[in-house]
């Protein structure tokens, strides 16, 4: 009886499960977009010579990286609503939590990527009369982006895994569905296994892509 695996339960509910999976990927993608967009100004502020920009950015990054995702989720979903600050749907609260947490990591990745661009590039750009903003936009950023892509993809994988937590605030993702069906049909092993395998497959593809990107980038001839 231990290894009786009832596949019909899974096939019966496959479309609901896949819908849930899609929701997980969507919320992770939105979260990553927020993280990637927020991380850039954060990284720039963190490198600024002005303490007025640097200190808040450092605080933000410290908070984003120091507070566990699950607490951010609870905070945005329950705590903010209690204080009447704002009230979000599970999807938005989830995407925002992922985005805020991810922004700290993305900021660090951009920062590392910016410092990886040789200082001669800045000098070369200045010597042909490019302004600071032009230097950043046309010379530094395009080069930094190349180094930032592989670790950035790792952040996406991290957020994808983090997105699985969102069933705790009632996001109707795959685990939420799995739990409902599991209770109704009393087939928890089948459903949790199916859900796990599905989400692992997605994260694996993303993780492998990140790995490939990492190897390709490190092989690239740069001097």
């Amino acid at each position: 009886m231990v290894f009786a695996f009832d596949t019909t339960v899974i096939s019966d509910h496959s479309s609901e499960l896949l819908d849930g999976l899609l929701l997980t990927v969507e919320v992770a993608a939105l979260g990553f977009a927020i993280a990637a967009l927020l991380g850039l100004p954060l990284a720039l502020a963190g490198r600024s010579q002005s303490p007025l920009l640097r200190v808040p950015a450092t605080l933000w990054v410290g908070l984003a990286r120091g507070v566990p995702l699950l607490i951010v989720i609870f905070w945005l979903y329950y705590a903010a609503a209690q204080e009447g600050l704002f009230s979000l749907t599970a999807f938005l609260a989830g995407a925002l939590s992922l985005g805020l947490t991810g922004s700290g990591y993305m900021s660090e990745i951009y920062r590392t990527a910016f410092s990886a661009v040789p200082s001669g590039q800045r000098e070369g750009a200045a010597a042909i009369g490019l302004s600071r903003w032009q230097t950043f936009r046309l010379v530094i950023f395009p080069q930094a982006l190349r180094t930032a892509i592989p670790p950035g993809m790792n952040v996406f994988v991290m957020l994808l895994k983090g997105a699985t937590l969102l069933s705790v605030i009632g996001l109707a993702d795959m685990f939420y569905t799995a739990k409902l069906v599991a209770v109704n049909e009393f087939k928890p092993f089948e459903l949790y296994t199916a859900a796990a395998v599905l989400v692992i497959a997605v994260t694996l593809v993303a993780a492998l892509a990140a790995g490939v990107a990492e190897r390709r980038m490190s092989k690239g001839v740069r001097r």
Binding site: P51, Q121, G124, A127, I128, L138, Q143, R146
Partner: protein, 261 residues
Amino acid sequence: MSASTSSLLELRQVTKQFGETTVLHPTDLQVERGEVVCVIGPSGSGKSTLLRCVNFIAPPTTGTIVFDGEEYRPPKDHRWIPALGIPEEQRLTRLRTQVGMVFQQFNVFPHLTVRENVALGLRKTCGLGKKAADARAVEELGKVGMAEKAAAYPEQLSGGQKQRVAIARALALEPKLMLFDEATSALDPELVGGVLQIMRDLAAGGMTMMVVTHEMRFAMDVADRVIFMDRGGIVEQGTPEQFKSPQHERTRAFLKSINHG
């Protein structure tokens, strides 16, 4: 008006400090139009810093630089609100478009093709359109023998070729002054000659140049004036002829060391 009669470049009591260390002691220097000045000296003597002060890539700590009749002073440190420094920065940016610079490490942009490397400055600082800039870029590349590599990326080029691209990139902006910072030091020996030839041609064409170099033959042949620097200051300057019998012991020791080194 008076700009055409005075020197192209004048440094007045220019100094440079990095934190506690002084890398350039108060220095005065004038460079005339069409003059070729070669700066020699041991490593760490402040040659490169001197060059970087001229176009404010490493802004001097104190002193004044007069270029083509315009005065430039060290920018104020807007540490708290960097945006306040923008007008000053814009003025320096305009200065830099009039001063070309070639680096030891080439500093070509690896993410752009050879043509785009040269066209970038034309488009962004001279306001040329894409087509016009591309055409001019290929023309400039032709002058350094790199026209057929216009579509290549820098990582496909040899060091000598990269340096030619860097020279074309600087010349495209039609600078009034060219700075060469050890332009051949990072090249394999067999590639040095070609780059030096381009610099000779440029000098013969009347370009005003400041050249930091270890190539004594080149300095002796091409320079109108040779400057010897040591420990952050100018020790001695004169014509190449005068440098055949230098006045200072330090100059003699240096010349001896590189001739027999």
